[in-house]
Subunit: 130 residues, 4 copies
DNA sequence: GTGGTCTAGACCACC
DNA sequence: GTGGTCTAGACCACA
């Protein structure tokens, strides 16, 4: 499994799990209709608590990324099910403002800022095509 | 005072305070050498506990944004004191990657992504010049 | 527990705690991966407040000596995580200068000074090998 | 006057003053019998409070570095008045142990450690001969 | 007056 | 169970 957890991080494990799955979808390592490992399976693989994995899956379901079927477990949704809406874009802008503010404080110029933003996106985008 | 706190938010009060101060510096509402309200004063204004404000100030001191003088309270540092270093840029890129991943998942195109990033930066930058 | 606190000292309790832990690591009484007592436990053992211990642990985390896991408590980091960098050496030199100045004033000769410095280091180093 | 104060430092101003005077004596910029500026004078020069300067002078008197005469103000004592005694050496060793512990943790080798210690001493010693 | 430290006790998130 | 956050009130050092 491609998911790695940093137990030292101050980011909660279930958040790291969520991000890993989203990363997987972004890079098309996880395609719509694909099944994720069962809660038990993934928890065992990563040596974390079952509840932690379940929590991540539930959150992802609520966000529209996954569907949870009784028999097949967690399945990646169609892209259109979690397309960007206004609400999401507003939240994104707000979150980015905090980062932009610190960058501005630290003397990061506009070009540099956009460069970093672009790198973050392109790095994923490239892997996607592969 | 320009600082506002959302008590309902799940982001800690002291984090909101830190971001507010950084935002203030980014927009030059807070200039180097300028004194911030005393911990007691700000705590009273916002109806939060002294220690919560003190924690925010201490973190900002550790990050290099403020100096804490024994008798003058917290003072904004010179810009060069908290210039971007490699470590910061690495952390920034890493943080942005998580946002970019979700954006990519949700079908946000490269141009759109850069637009949002640019807006976040320019919005602050404009206020700065005023 | 090997940590002892002098309540009469004018150096803050949390600083004494930090030094004790660093001393423990230096002498390899605390090895990488080893768990420290929980904040509640240690606080009870030393009859100090939980928050005081927590402050010490947090500072040590920030310095890179410890990691704080959400469910295992504080764990000693790998040595390479807190290797000496330029910044540290500069701070060390500056701190030692103050001591050297007083020693020089008081007629301590160069050999004597180096002897004391060497003793301080070797004393720890010896215990380490045992 | 050669004394400089860093208002941003977390070292109390009176401690910085004490260290500056000791540094001056160590480097023989201040010789036995020499008069220091009056409390008023020095306080004005440095833009600090008179009480702060007075406190520094009093501490230095207690340590044996200065005598305070009614008419001549603060005067540097003869060297033998503040020669190293056992008590001082014990305190010095103890203080150095804390620094050595952190250095050891951070992978500083014995030679490196002695090098830094030697530098701190020699730097002052050189200025002294000039 | 300022911030720094310590204590005490509460609630919450995470696991 | 763990640590993280917040509140509350005390005392002290510094200036």
């Amino acid at each position: 499994m491609f998911i790695e957890i940093d137990m030292k991080s101050d980011v909660p494990i279930y958040e790291q799990l969520k991000q890993s799955v989203i990363l997987g979808i972004a890079q098309k390592q996880l395609a719509p209709g694909e099944e994720l490992p069962s809660v038990r399976q993934l928890a065992a693989d990563l040596s974390v608590n079952m509840h932690t994995v379940a929590k991540a899956y539930t959150h992802l379901k609520d966000k529209g990324f996954l569907s949870i079927h009784r028999n097949r477990g967690a399945v990646v949704n169609d892209y259109r099910d979690f397309a960007a809406d206004k609400e999401y874009l507003a939240a994104l802008t707000h979150a980015l403002r905090a980062f932009a503010a610190e960058a501005l404080c630290r003397g990061v110029k506009a070009g540099e800022w956009l460069g970093v933003c672009n790198d973050a996106y392109e790095e994923l985008s490239k892997k996607r095509r592969m």
